[in-house]
């Protein structure tokens, strides 16, 4: 083995992200290549390790070298030799792989200086990206399972409940119900057998915070769940994970095994006399199975359909026994509250919404990814500081929070505080933490249609307002987007939406109209343009847009003609080309291929451009001629 040069080969660990996003970017291969290269170079002090998701999936695969704190983005297998030789061996970080600020273009070497991270406050995600999720000792080294020990040795269930109540923790699964109060109900319910259930179904499209937590720090979920079970008096627990999360399932199963081996689970935990057994139940991936009563039905082997409450699960849950259901993030917060105290936790957030919340930030935003921020933060801070703003100099139009049934808030709400009450008052919700940013090219009617098409398809079908009401609303929205809207449609949508909200059985139907109702409230003019003028202001609804070749700009190059997939462009060399509007399928290819210096294809909505009936010789020789003809 070659001895490394002194001073350059200190103890260094390179952590490669093995969250689902980075894994799809071949981070397994990168890890293997790094291990091999480090071995070949004989770097004894270098550790190659992996972590869960860092949240910055946009930049994946990512890696962090500690203790330097150097952050590498978009790493490939080809970059491995350079990282190993330059950084791990010679101590010289590879600048080329540094993250570049999307606004300033500046390369930022340190993880802590990247705005995406520096504005965040990580409680739930505290360990993710810093520990190997497949080693229980890593978790223990971060203080893991200390809270469980404290609870079992020093606290009664009543004291645990009181502490959680005092912390102000509210459920992170969407409804925001106070967690301590929920535990208290179940604790006080009469029953010989009680159950603790962890809701890890996470069915919102685009949401992946629960998955990241389970993949990146599974033990914190188990610790929180065990504390909860102790508080309510449950001896059996279920983790309901969707089967589409194989990595999360694998890591949770491994963590369960390790935790049992260490005596943190099973019979007579840590000699306390308290016993708990946790089972993993894989869900088949229906969105509605995230709803707590549907989830319980699914665990029982029935069709996943919600049922009316009362009776609440706290009194009659799984197999009719008192049951508590908590979201992954709610449970991941519990060990921290126990360790650092309710007062410490309650110091973050607003009066009624304490602590932090996790969002999956996506859409028209520079830095998409997973973020954790204190409650009460402004939407503007999330979008412009953490998110890095809207790419391509586009204008912000709306932000949708809370998943597919959240509301769309306009620019005037950017200084809105992010918390349960404020978002609800604005017609949106906290939900499970989806956040989709939209720019000026987004059509709000189409957005409402899109989200409703999801909730409609995912409705369980049990109750009439949701099953039929959302379908009728969707039909109307589709008609409006096709340019077949009628003036009375807006009133019908408003009234139907309100009735679906009030009349539906479960949260799915009760929130599904939100995107429609908020866009009607904040973007009414877009509906009016679609219905009254047959115009889509964002030029997004295909049926309402058309493409024209401007006679004064077309140079007759023929590129569009050759590329049009349906051959509906007429023209010849040096002849002005013309689109047959009847045959055009509005694919936009001609606009994309027309050379930028000619810029002869125009996309419009609600207007037509005068063009000759048949190709005529090109006149647009000089820019002056073009300008002159445009004036006519």
């Amino acid at each position: 083995m070659t001895a490394a040069k002194p001073g350059s080969n200190h103890q260094r660990t390179i952590f490669i992200c093995q969250g689902t996003g980075c894994v799809s970017g071949k981070s397994f291969d990168i890890t293997a290549a790094l291990s091999r290269a480090a071995k070949e170079q004989g770097l004894a002090g270098v550790n190659v390790d992996f972590t869960g998701c860092h949240g910055f999936c946009e930049q994946g695969p990512v890696a962090i070298v500690e203790p330097d704190g150097i952050f590498y983005s978009q790493v490939t297998v080809a970059d491995v030799p350079e990282i190993v030789q330059s950084h791990l061996r010679d101590g010289k970080p590879v600048e080329r792989l540094f993250y570049k600020d999307p606004v300033t273009g500046e390369a930022i070497p340190h993880h802590r200086d990247i705005k995406f991270y520096s504005k965040q406050q990580r409680i739930i995600l505290r360990n993710i990206g810093r520990i190997n999720p497949e080693r229980v000792d890593d978790y223990i080294a971060m203080g893991g399972y200390e809270s469980l020990k404290k609870v079992l040795k020093e606290m009664t269930p009543g004291q645990v409940i009181a502490e959680i109540k005092r912390s102000g923790l509210r459920g992170r699964g969407g409804a925001g119900f106070p967690t301590g109060t929920k535990w208290e109900f179940c604790h006080n319910a009469a029953g010989d057998q009680k159950y603790m259930v962890c809701n890890a179904d996470e069915g919102d499209p685009g949401a992946f915070m629960d998955r990241s937590t389970m993949e990146g720090d599974p033990h914190t979920v188990l610790e929180g769940m065990t504390i909860a079970a102790y508080a309510i008096g449950a001896t059996e627990g279920y983790i309901y994970i969707r089967a589409e999360y194989p990595l999360a399932v694998k890591r949770v199963r491994l963590a369960l095994q390790q935790s049992e081996e260490k005596g943190f689970l099973g019979d007579n935990i840590l000699g306390s006399g308290f016993s708990l057994r946790i089972h993993v139940k894989e869900g088949a991936g229906a969105f509605v199975c995230g709803e707590e009563t549907a989830l319980l039905a699914s665990i029982e082997g029935k069709r996943g359909m919600p049922r009316s409450r009362p009776p609440f699960p706290a009194n009659s849950g799984l197999w009719g026994k008192p049951t508590t259901i908590n979201n992954v993030k709610s449970l991941a917060t519990v060990p921290v509250i126990i360790a650092r105290g309710a007062d410490w936790y309650a110091a973050t957030g607003t009066e009624k919404s304490k602590g932090t919340c996790v969002f999956a930030l996506t859409g028209k935003i520079a830095n998409s990814g997973l973020i954790e921020v204190p409650m009460g933060i402004k939407l503007r801070e999330i979008i412009y500081e953490i998110g890095g703003g809207i790419p391509g100099n586009k204008k912000f139009k709306a932000v949708q929070t809370g998943g597919p049934s959240g509301g769309c808030l306009p620019e005037s709400y950017l200084d809105q505080s992010v918390d349960y009450e404020s978002l609800a008052a604005a017609g949106s919700m906290m939900g499970s933490g989806g956040m989709v940013v939209m720019d000026e090219e987004t059509c709000m009617v189409d957005v409402a249609r899109f989200f409703l098409s999801f909730t409609q398809a995912e409705s369980c079908g049990k109750c009439v307002p949701c099953r039929v009401g959302t379908k009728q609303m969707l039909d109307i929205l589709e008609r409006i987007c096709r340019g077949e809207g009628k003036p009375e449609d807006m009133d019908i949508l408003q009234e139907l939406g309100q009735n679906v909200k009030v009349g539906s059985l479960c949260g799915l139907g009760q929130t599904a109209p939100n995107p429609v109702l908020t866009t009607l409230r904040y973007f009414r003019h877009e509906y009016e343009a679609h219905i009254n003028e047959k115009r889509c202001p964002a030029l997004s609804c295909t049926s309402l847009t058309s493409y024209f070749i401007l006679p004064d700009k077309c140079q007759g190059c023929g590129i569009c003609l050759r590329n049009c997939p349906v051959g509906c462009i007429a023209g010849d060399k040096r002849m002005v080309h013309i689109i047959d509007q009847e045959k055009c399928i509005k694919c936009g290819t001609c606009l994309d291929v027309c050379p930028e210096r000619f810029n002869a294809v125009l996309k419009v909505s609600g207007e037509t451009i005068e063009v000759p009936a048949a190709p005529v010789p090109v006149t647009a020789g000089k820019p002056a001629a073009a300008a002159a003809s445009q004036k006519e």
């Binding site: 009316s308 009362p310 409609q456 079908g461 049990k462 109750c463 039929v468 959302t470 019908i492 009349g503």
Partner: protein, 369 residues
Amino acid sequence: MSDITLTINGREVKANRGMTVLEAAQAADIYIPTLCHYPDLEPYGGCRLCLVEIEKMRGLPTACTTPAADGMVVTTGSAAIDSVRHASLELILTTHPCDCLECHRRHRCGPYDVCLRHVAVTDRCVTCPANEDCELQQVVDYVGVHKLRIPRDTRPREIDASNPFFTIDRNRCILCARCVRACQEITCIGTIDMSYRGYAMKVSTFGDLPLIETDCGSCGECMVRCPVGAMFPKDIIRPEREVRTVCTYCGVGCSMYLGVKDGKITGVRGVREGPVNHGRLCVKGRFGIAEFVNHPDRLTTPLIRKNGRFEEASWEEALDLVVARLGKYRGDEVAVISSAKSTNEDNYVMQKLARAVLGTNNVDHCARL
């Protein structure tokens, strides 16, 4: 024993613990419209018509699912309730033939009347097997829906006529799930369930097979609970009157009403108060009685064997012959076999004859199933 007291629409109502708000209201003769509720099925909460307001409870809870509690203050009608109830009913009607339901002439319309509104024959209430026995008609009349503002979905849906006794016509199905719950909770077979999600939801069998190719026992418990004409017997004749009796097929002794018209059995209905069956019947009792009673092969007059051939005879002749022959035997020299296809009343008399008159306990009948 009444042990709790509620206030419903300002009236004090006594109820039993364990009742739902709907049951408490019904016990006090307060009407709340329902479609998915059925007395012997678990609460479902799907049709959303039974919405009420309850003090200290959020939103509009459904009366059929909410347990009644002492001191509850319930209101069954308000502007908020009416709005949502009306909307739900309107939505149900978009998935059900409804032109007749909106029509004020429905009650006077006969099957041969010309429809002045040109409603398609298959859509007319008068051609529906459930006409005048339809809960949807009752609810529409109560809530008062006169015009749909949203379009009706008229796309044809599948009809399953494979079962010899009853048909499922999904064009009329309002997805109340009573049939599904009956098959699961009452029959405990679970042949039918809801399949698919959202608007695509429908009643179906495992693998969407025709009913006849499944483990369905054709008991018809599903069918009798259908509030509309989506599940109906293949033989429908409206009876003139009903006669209460006990099923003759087996030893269980299910109570039933035989529907009778022109001296013939038209159909069978379980007796809800029947102590052994609580209204339930099996395929034989529900669908097999009219058939054998009305069967052309059935004997309607006694036969006497003469020269090796059966010949029709009068009752006098037959009874004289029986008396003459039986008179030669005493006690256990005789055995009596009667028929399960006779009525229980006849069989009772038969064993009286054997024991009291002929003096033997050698009496049995064929229903040892």
